[in-house]
């Protein structure tokens, strides 16, 4: 039997386990970089937040609780991921109350997590989430009627200066030019598969677009699939970057 809870993995996790680390005077903020892939890519940001709280308990992470009337743990996520998009680089900040090495925290979380959500690294944050500038995305389209010239067609469509996308918002829908949001666009097609890499502005108070706007534009304009249900593609967020295009940390 392959079961994905910690017991089978024999790892030292679980909410009843005590940490050796000394209590901290206040709290310490640590940053977690984790995956959100496969079946997990279909859950909303709100659901992820709820599930994450449970995972932190399951992993026995010594969370720091706010000292108010209604104590609660502090967990802050960097960039909400649209439903249907995978990620190799989700970031969240936690406050812990004990002096436990980041590696130990990582191992305890990984002991309870499935591969689809593995923690890659836990570290002390270097910059604030407000300083996030952009994110890299990789798209793979499979099957359908993607031809040899698919890459060229896709590039032409996406970089057309007149191309606009509809952004839905609380204060009504808006039409936004797509091309200015696409940087370092690179498209290649091989063996009926089309791969597309792009860097898009992210975070902050600016107007940003979702990678799904890119996919939707291609599906709407190019006759690759008979219907949306047939459209077999993945989108993955690969990197989050700062304003100098370095990996955001």
């Amino acid at each position: 039997m392959v079961s994905q809870t910690q017991k089978d993995l024999g790892a030292p996790a679980g909410p009843f386990l005590r940490f050796s680390g000394e209590p901290l005077e206040d709290f310490r903020t640590v940053r977690v970089r984790f995956r959100k892939t496969g079946s997990l890519s279909y859950i909303s940001h709100l659901d992820l937040q709820r599930v994450m709280m449970r995972i932190l308990v399951l992993g026995g992470i010594p969370m720091w609780y706010t000292q108010g009337f209604n104590p609660h743990a502090k967990v802050v996520f960097a960039l909400p991921l649209p439903v249907g998009v995978e990620s190799e680089c989700e970031l969240m900040d936690l406050r812990i109350c004990r002096d436990v090495p980041c590696e130990e925290l990582r191992d305890r979380l990984n002991a309870v997590l499935t591969d689809e959500m593995k923690v890659k690294e836990i570290y002390i944050p270097e910059r604030k989430f407000q300083e996030i500038d952009s994110a890299d995305y990789a798209f793979t389209f499979r099957g359908g009627r993607i031809s040899e010239t698919g890459a060229k067609e896709a590039e032409t469509v996406l970089l057309d200066p007149g191309r606009k996308v509809l952004k839905k918002g609380k204060n009504g829908d808006k039409e936004i030019s797509l091309a200015p949001h696409l940087r370092r666009l690179n498209v290649e097609s091989t063996d009926g598969e089309l791969r597309l890499y792009v860097n898009m502005p992210a975070g902050g108070d600016r107007e940003t677009l979702s990678p799904l706007h890119v996919a939707q534009t291609l599906l709407d304009t190019l006759d690759w699939y008979d219907s949306a249900i047939e459209a077999d593609y993945t989108v993955t967020r690969l990197h989050i970057r700062d304003d100098r295009m370095r990996e955001f940390r």
Binding site: P15, G38, V51, G84, L113, S227, A228, I229, A231
Partner: protein
């Protein structure tokens, strides 16, 4: 990790997390090395199905067997169903992503009559023939269990086999028999069904019984078609709950479900004997778990789930004989770990200050009590054994503890009910609201008393199983009457159920095999999610009955004769018919029957396992 549906499909439907699988705690096995595959289907949405304790238990009980792989299936929401039909995509199981027709067993749990249309639509989505008689040798065996199978007749033609009673032991036995017969080469569909009915207690194979009818439409007889099976199917129970299999982990849903918490089953059965209540009759005899077992299981579940709430579940939690011991054990660690305790099924007459103090140290939801009827006369008729004083005392404790809301459950259309009883509901709610201001230390906010009124549905194996349901016209009139009396009082909130849904529920609850034809008509007309108000269409149901030649009034509004053969007489649930009749007669003279903790009324459930007994005051019979 295996995939379920393609990304394109998942991106086009609402809440795709329902269909993506991959949750933590799911059980994956190598499909080539197991000997039997079981698709456990819940005929309602993922959010409801994932919350069901029975599914959690049986999923674990089957998967505990190394060579059996049990997977989960829920009814796809309507947008998903439409998309699947459009592209001819079959229904698949969440763990492997394999279509249902590749399984050995497709099992449905029947929790509520209004889910029957989802059973049919799920079979249809899975490309499995609806009628058992149309299924070939390679088709999965479609089996059913759960509370509705105490009268499975309306869905009898769609199932190969039913489990009557508790499944922890019976279900693995059925699959084991299948594996054994496959291995020794004796398996055919027919031979297996016969052998299961012959040798496994609790197994009911409807195709092995012939039903004949009288000219007036009533049933003449149930006749077994083979000589060596029991003429009446005895329900199965688990004898010892302390040693019974209990799942120490659950599949953790990624999306929010209805009961997203630990459910700790404290005991089975109910000592009370309310005369309308099917659960209180068919889950007898009472069997308790010890506080030691419960505490161990709660810790284990917390360790494996990280849930922040433990709900103590049973039919009437405050009747658990060792509740103080249990709460003490649990509170010794739950407070420290910020885990809340909730007690969802409180009775007004056994709710104490002490209990309130214990649970008020953690967050509690608003308190709910179920007087069921508005006057003492009617409460005596239904054997509710709760008085106005009990309700005031219980609400007073809640008010004193700072709560200002109480929810009261009632039923309309109970046998012998008059308009006076309806007015009594409003009267009782007002008395409770008035009591708020008379309670010392009540909060500053004004009180809110929520009155929620359901419609009485006569259910099999209750003393009221022979009773007619009130007509829709009369039920609606009573609902309006109550609305008018309550309306001027702003402290009272009033909710009531759609009487038309209750009428269909009554037809399906007391129906016989012929009613299945209406369900087939319903499938043709696209019925699904009839338990959801937004999809229920009463006129279409009437059309389906009409096409099937079924008169709903014959099943819902008729007084059944005491000596008439009932569709569910083929099942023996523990309580005897003589007991149910006696209780019915006592109801009509307004006499109550004491609960099992005080006195044994000889219902028959205590005799279930020879010398073994659970009933505290059991009479030798």
């Amino acid at each position: 990790m295996p995939k379920t549906y393609d990304s394109g499909l998942l991106r086009t439907v609402s809440k795709p997390g329902r269909y993506a699988g991959g949750e933590m705690g799911q059980i994956l096995k190598n499909k080539n090395s197991v000997k039997a595959r079981f698709a456990f289907c819940f005929p309602d949405s993922y959010e409801i199905g994932m919350s069901n304790l029975g599914v959690r238990i049986l999923y674990g009980a089957l998967n505990r067997e190394k060579d059996i792989w049990c997977e989960r299936v829920y009814a796809p929401w309507t947008d998903m169903q439409d998309a699947m039909k459009e592209r001819n995509i079959p229904l698949c199981a969440l763990e492997s992503g394999d279509p249902l027709d590749r399984f050995d067993f497709v099992g449905f749990t029947l929790q509520y009559e209004m889910c029957y249309t989802n059973v049919l639509s799920m079979l249809d989505l899975a490309h499995i023939p609806i009628r058992a008689s149309d299924r070939g040798e390679d088709c999965p065996l479609v089996i059913g269990g759960g509370p509705c199978t105490y009268n499975p007749e309306p869905v009898a033609d769609f199932f190969d086999l039913f489990n009557i009673g508790e499944g922890e032991e019976m279900l693995p036995e059925i699959v084991r028999l299948y594996i054994r017969m496959k291995e020794d080469g004796t398996y055919t569909r027919k031979a297996f069904l016969h052998e299961a009915a012959r040798t496994i207690e609790g197994v009911y194979v409807p195709s092995l019984f012939e039903v004949t009818y009288r000219e007036d439409g009533r049933i003449r007889a149930y006749t077994p078609l083979v000589p060596d099976i029991p003429t009446q199917v005895r329900k199965r129970i688990v004898k010892d709950l302390d040693t019974m299999y209990f799942p120490d982990r659950v599949v953790l849903p990624y999306i929010e479900t209805v009961q997203d918490r630990i459910m700790l089953e404290v005991y089975r059965g109910c000592p009370r004997g309310c005369r309308f209540c099917q659960a209180g009759m068919v889950y007898r005899p009472i069997r308790e778990k010890s506080p030691e077992t419960l505490d161990r299981q709660a810790r284990c579940l917390y360790e494996n789930t990280g849930y922040e709430e433990i709900s103590l579940t049973s039919l009437s939690i405050s009747d658990y004989t060792r509740l103080p011991e249990l709460t003490e054990k649990l509170l010794s660690w739950t407070d420290e770990y910020k885990v809340n305790l909730s007690l969802p099924s409180l009775r007004a007459d056994s709710f104490s200050k002490e209990l309130m103090d214990r649970i008020s140290s953690v967050r509690t939801t608003s308190l709910t009590f179920a007087p069921e009827a508005g006057t003492q006369r009617l409460r005596d008729v239904i054997n509710k054994n709760v008085t106005v004083d009990d309700i005031l005392k219980a609400s007073g404790i809640a008010f004193e503890a700072g709560k200002n809301t109480v929810k009261l459950y009632f039923m309309n259309g109970l046998p012998t009910e008059t308009d006076e009883d309806i007015a009594g509901i409003a009267e009782l709610a007002k008395t409770v609201a008035d009591h708020y201001y008379r309670t010392p230390g009540h909060a500053k906010r004004p009180p809110t008393v929520t009155v929620s009124v359901a419609c009485f549905v006569p259910k099999p194996f209750t003393p009221f199983q022979w009773e007619p349901q009130d007509t829709i016209e009369n039920l609606s009139r009573k609902q309006q009457l109550l609305l008018e009396i309550i309306k001027p009082d702003k402290r009272i909130r009033y909710q009531y159920h759609d009487a038309r849904v209750s009428r269909i529920e009554a037809v399906l609850a007391r129906g016989d095999r012929r009613v299945g034809r209406a369900l087939e008509e319903g499938l043709k007309a696209g019925f699904r999610f009839d338990a959801w108000d937004e999809f229920f269409d009463y006129d279409k149901w009437l059309e389906a009955f009409d096409k099937a030649g079924i008169d709903p009034a014959f099943y819902a509004n008729r007084t059944y004769d005491e000596d008439e053969v009932l569709a569910w007489d083929v099942i023996a649930p523990g309580v005897r018919k003589e007991f149910l009749l006696r209780e019915k007669h006592l109801a009509y003279v307004g006499k109550t029957t004491r609960n099992c903790m005080e006195h044994c009324s000889g219902c028959g459930a205590g005799d279930w396992e020879g010398e073994l007994t659970w009933c505290p005051k059991r009479k030798k019979t």
